[in-house]
Amino acid sequence: MENPYLPKIAKIINVKQETPIVKTFTLKLEEEFHFKPGQFVELSVFGVGEAPFGLSSSLYTTDKFEVSVMKAGKLTEALHSKKTGDYVGIRGPYGNGYPVEKWVGKNITIVGGGIGLSPLRSLILYLINEKEKYKNIWLLYGAKTPHDLVYKEELAQWRDSLNVNVSVDVSDENWVGNVGVVTILFDIVKIPPSENISVVCGPPIMMKFVVRNLTKIGFTSENIYLSLERMMKCGIGKCGHCNIGKYYVCQDGPVFTYEQVKDIPSPF
């Protein structure tokens, strides 16, 4: 009997400090690792526990993969103390991922908040590689302060392929970009709603306001895709923790259209 709860051992081969509280871990399993953008893994810090993290690297790299982790509690703190050469456990990939095939031929508007850019990075790396399949791509990204922006160097590189717009809630003396919550970018960048798919990931309150803005511009709820976050324990539809309405976020999500969840109380 195969045990779906049994993690595989992965070695940490690189740790990058993204912000004061976010680190990107590059992990390597003994075997190849294949996944779709938008999927996640259950990561074990042995002796501490297990928690879900979105895959942030490119699906074209299969000999290693990355997760970006914000310090938020017990497990994430313990993970932050891990170094190159240490071992963690991995189960997955789990979840549905983004239905990128369905979006072929469309414009794509990606909206991220803070650490929410992590699964979106995997999507962006895919879209850059398959650029000719899609029309225009916008990225609207917001973080609390300039120090809280993740993937800073990459944001600059992505400008070659996508229309990148960044804002911070609170600026500092060196910041020359936009200031304000991410939704102010909707006033600065004119986004055409037709033939346009929007993909949103970020804190609950941010998603709520972004959806409101998108709807105002004219995006239909079928064309708004959200990565939802819920308490998770098993990742495989057994423990019941991640349930929202009739769905289990771990299996039916984490990616949902707004249409699917809009009638559920506090969907974000």
């Binding site: 709860y5 993690p7 042995f46 526990g49 071992y87 308490m231 098993c234 423990c239 019941g240 349930n243």
Partner: protein
């Protein structure tokens, strides 16, 4: 032989024989209390062949209240991770009623879908189910309202029906036949009279039950018609002991934690305030009313949409256990009267 009769006189000898071959787990009565225990020579005389469902759910055998999932050992710098699925003896489980086998059937849908929960699967594969007809209905039973009958027709290996002087034994599987074969010397051909008696008994209990509760059949629509105020009002009674979810034979939620290089799971409850609370403190179901609403929606709406059946067998254990006096049948009846008034 797929049906046989065993006289009361031979029951201890038949069990003794089976105990040599299998582990036998059976209801044992000590004073007024009934426990599930391994049947032995020493407690054989306390074997309690129950006339209606027991007060604990049989899920606790297949899905332990607390169980070890993994064990680790530090090996140089890496980690040896071992799955804690234990080899177990084939076990005969005695004392289940129709609502108990139905509950197991519902748990199978969760734990044995395309991704199999090994701990549950291990138990399930190595357990032989011996069920029995109900010869009495409890005050809280409403199984017939959930579409069940008070006697099992499938899902068992052997089923017992009490008749004058002993039990009729019916086989429901190859394994059941094998077991019946092995106690061949203690059983005889059933008589027509005995078969008739079984039908009569079954009808009697069935009728007694069907008379008890009346609410309409489409419970999904009924629950969906509920208002937020309804759950707010209900929450005034709930003391959040979580008893109803633990005692429920179909509730399957669990928490996973780490302890001394072991990963452990424990029963959890969607009624618990912390159930969906995430790092940082966000809690989508912070209000008790929203959690009670969730519990009822999960049983009668979501489970139905996902697996095609209600996650309630009408066993009534939650009615018995609730210190707040919440009675699931009253909740349904009240919803119905509100719906009718609309």
């Amino acid at each position: 032989m797929s049906m046989a009769f065993i006289s009361h006189i031979y029951i201890p000898s038949a069990f003794k024989k089976l105990m040599g071959e299998y582990a036998v787990l059976a209801p044992i009565k000590k004073n007024e209390n009934v426990f599930l225990e391994v049947l032995q020579e020493t407690n054989l005389d306390q074997l309690h062949l129950n006339s209606s469902r027991l007060n604990f759910p049989f899920k606790s055998w297949f899905f332990l209240p607390k169980e070890k999932m993994l064990e680790y050992r530090l090996n140089k710098k890496a980690m040896d991770v071992k799955s804690a699925v234990e080899e177990m003896r084939e076990t005969i489980l005695i004392g289940l009623k129709e609502c108990d086998v139905k509950a197991i059937d519902l748990l199978d849908k969760v734990f044995l879908d395309d991704i199999k929960d090994v701990y549950y699967e291990n138990k399930r594969k190595n357990t032989i189910l011996v069920t029995a007809d109900c010869t009495e209905a409890l005050e809280t039973c409403f199984c017939t309202k959930m579409g069940l009958k008070p006697y099992p027709e499938k899902g068992y290996d052997l089923n017992l029906s009490a008749v004058e002087g002993g039990f009729l034994i019916e086989c429901g599987s190859e394994k059941g036949k094998e077991i019946l074969e092995s106690i061949n010397e203690f059983v005889e051909e059933p008589t027509k009279q005995q078969l008739k008696e079984r039908e009569k008994n079954r009808k009697k209990v069935y009728q007694k039950l069907s008379r008890k509760y009346k609410f309409k059949d489409d419970l999904k629509t009924l629950i969906l018609s509920s208002t937020e105020e309804f759950w707010e009002k209900l929450s005034e009674k709930c003391v959040e002991c979580l008893g109803c979810t633990y005692i429920c034979p179909t509730c399957h939620c669990f928490y996973v934690s780490e302890n001394d290089w072991r990963r452990i799971r424990t029963w959890d409850s969607c009624l618990s305030e912390a159930f969906q609370k995430v790092a940082g403190g966000a809690n989508p179901r912070a209000r008790l009313a929203s959690r009670l609403k969730q519990r009822f929606h999960d049983k009668f709406v979501f489970f139905k949409e996902k697996y095609g059946e209600y996650a309630c067998t009408g066993c009534g254990r939650c009615i018995e256990v609730c210190p707040g006096g919440i009675d699931i049948t009253e909740v349904l009846k009240e919803l119905e009267s509100q719906e009718g008034g609309k």
